[in-house]
Symmetry: C2
Subunit: 360 residues, 2 copies
């Protein structure tokens, strides 16, 4: 299949939802993808099954604080340099590209890269959502090397990191991105076809597109949010999904530190009787009512406009918005004990075990 | 020639002097070199003239805050990895090694690397002294590329930086070394033989050895400091050299910030009538009497024990020490307008033009 200009708005909207409030501004990502598709044509989307076991697949992403990504996008040359540098480092040609996460700008950027290079894009990712850390990827959970990690910026600076620890790679990359102006292009976890087939979260590009379509179609009906919840519950990956609260944003606290955007946001029901407190580190990490956790990572906590179900990122959420707070499950691959050791609640300093989202 | 075990103490002492108070602890460097020479044999020292014009020469150094270098040395494996990684990146075998600076630990570490690998070591460096920044090198002044810059640590982490700005490379390296525990192995400015012959500061390893010998021999006479000054004044590079003040250290202020060791140190004459205030950023940058600059970078400001002329680093200087403050010139190559634009006083935030050391 191809992902065409007409699909972009739906795709970016769906990916923004799966971005759990993070992954960078989906609007910026969409504009970049639009521009690239207009210039170079629509990239071909393939399934991992179409790849040879020894095919070479690399991810293409931006790293940085979403606060900065909003204002400092990529130039295109930095993407070309990224792929060229990774190819040089691997010493073999690259067969396909993939998103490392299916959220926000990083779901759209691989479209830009695929359009520019003519390489196919694999319908999968390594998170089934967005996460703030490079180590928080299924490929790391299940033993694939993160290295080499290649980073480039708009001044054609290039940094290549080799380490056997994905957590350490995250620290190196985070220190380098500080010198790249808090946003940079990044490629990591170069995989072969066999690894990708086994440890990828498959079909997530198509799922993002379908979720975006459901929201759009839901707007013609009574309740766009309900349409979204139904669509989520029809997927294998994101079911069960449920509405935690509908209400108004009454407090937002946000700080950019160590290359991340940290903060809290309080949503109050219109009658003032219920509150949900959301914490975030780029992405929403937890939803709490008083002292009780309602949902935690790795499940997706998303905030959408209560009227039209448009996803709202942690970066753009603001006082007075009328929103619905949604929690959805994530793929099985992301909920194993091994996975929770890498991106469970305690990895983010939350004092709770993982509470799977239920339909209660 | 070979640099043997018997030469090491003199060599390290001379290099500590040329280190201008910085370059890391020369004692640590000497111990590492001793160990390597005992295990692998003494490295062969050659002149740049012995190299083919297309020979490949790389520098081997440690980067970090001297405060940390004192306690966290290299493992040896990180040196091997460094050279291997640079070789892989360049895609051609390395013919010789060189020190990037002739000061402190970085004058001795190339001995370790040469002993371990069996590669010859070129009798030259890129500073004729030590400096705190990777861009402060003759090779950068005269247009040689700093990239690729390779960094490794004792956990076998490896980072390769490519940029066309040496100042930017310094910033990247400084951010990476923070994640490597504030000290790391580094190689940069891979050169060909032609470049090295033209832009190297030649003969500085031999000069360091000779200066160290002069200090040792001077101790048998009346005045070790005077013997050192005579020796300096007999070199082409470090003449004129003069004594700025003999006295007691009465104040030291030191802080480790951004991967550097910054500070001030006040030396007062024994009669209390004269004072010299030294500022440092790893290395001594300036010597001032009241508001008058007596000497500034790139000239070498060194502090030695007033009794035996043993060089004292900015890291180990302390209240009550009886010292001589010495200023010496640097090679012509380091005093051109192009050179002063890279490591003249204003590059360190000093509010003065360069004041060449005179014999006044």
């Amino acid at each position: 299949m191809n992902l065409t200009l007409n699909d972009l708005e739906d795709y970016a909207r769906g990916a923004a939802l799966l971005g759990a409030g993070g992954g960078g501004d989906p609007y910026i990502g969409r504009l970049l993808a639009e521009e690239a598709i207009k210039t170079y044509g629509a990239p071909r989307i393939i399934s991992a099954q179409e790849l040879d076991d020894d095919a070479v697949i690399i991810s293409v992403a931006m790293i940085g604080a979403p606060t900065v990504l909003i204002e400092k996008a990529c130039s295109g040359d930095d993407i070309d340099l990224l792929i060229k540098a990774m190819e040089a480092r691997l010493g073999k040609p690259i067969d396909a590209l993939m998103p490392i996460e299916i959220g926000g700008v990083n779901s759209c950027l691989p479209l830009v890269a695929a359009a520019r290079t003519g390489l196919p894009l694999v319908n999968c990712d390594g998170m089934g959502r967005a996460f703030p850390g490079l180590e928080m990827v299924t490929f790391n959970v299940y033993g694939c090397d993160i290295s080499p990690v290649v980073m480039t910026d708009e001044h054609n600076n290039q940094v290549v990191i080799d380490t056997d620890s994905a957590a350490k790679a995250e620290k190196f990359a985070r220190s380098v991105v500080g010198e790249m102006g808090l946003s940079a292009m990044l490629s990591c976890y170069p995989l072969n076809g066999k690894q990708l087939k086994k440890w990828g979260v498959h079909g997530t590009m198509t799922l993002a597109l379908e979720l975006g379509q459901s929201i759009r179609l839901g707007r013609n009906g009574d309740n766009a949010v309900q349409a979204l919840l139904s669509a989520l519950n029809q997927t294998d990956y994101y079911s069960p999904a449920r509405l935690l609260l509908t209400g108004k944003v009454v407090d937002v606290e946000r700080v950019t530190r160590d290359g991340f955007s940290f903060g809290h946001c309080l949503v109050q029901s219109f009658d003032g009787e219920k509150e949900v407190n959301l914490s975030f580190q780029n992405e929403f990490l937890s939803a709490k009512s008083q002292d009780t956790f309602l949902a935690t990572v790795p499940d997706i906590i998303a905030v959408v406009d209560s009227d039209n179900a448009e996803p709202i990122t942690a970066e753009t959420i603001r006082f007075g918005q009328r929103v619905c707070v949604i929690a959805t499950s994530v793929p099985e691959l992301m909920r194993t004990p091994e996975a929770l050791a890498i991106f469970g609640p305690r990895c983010f300093g939350l004092d709770t075990d993982y509470l799977p989202t239920t339909t209660k």
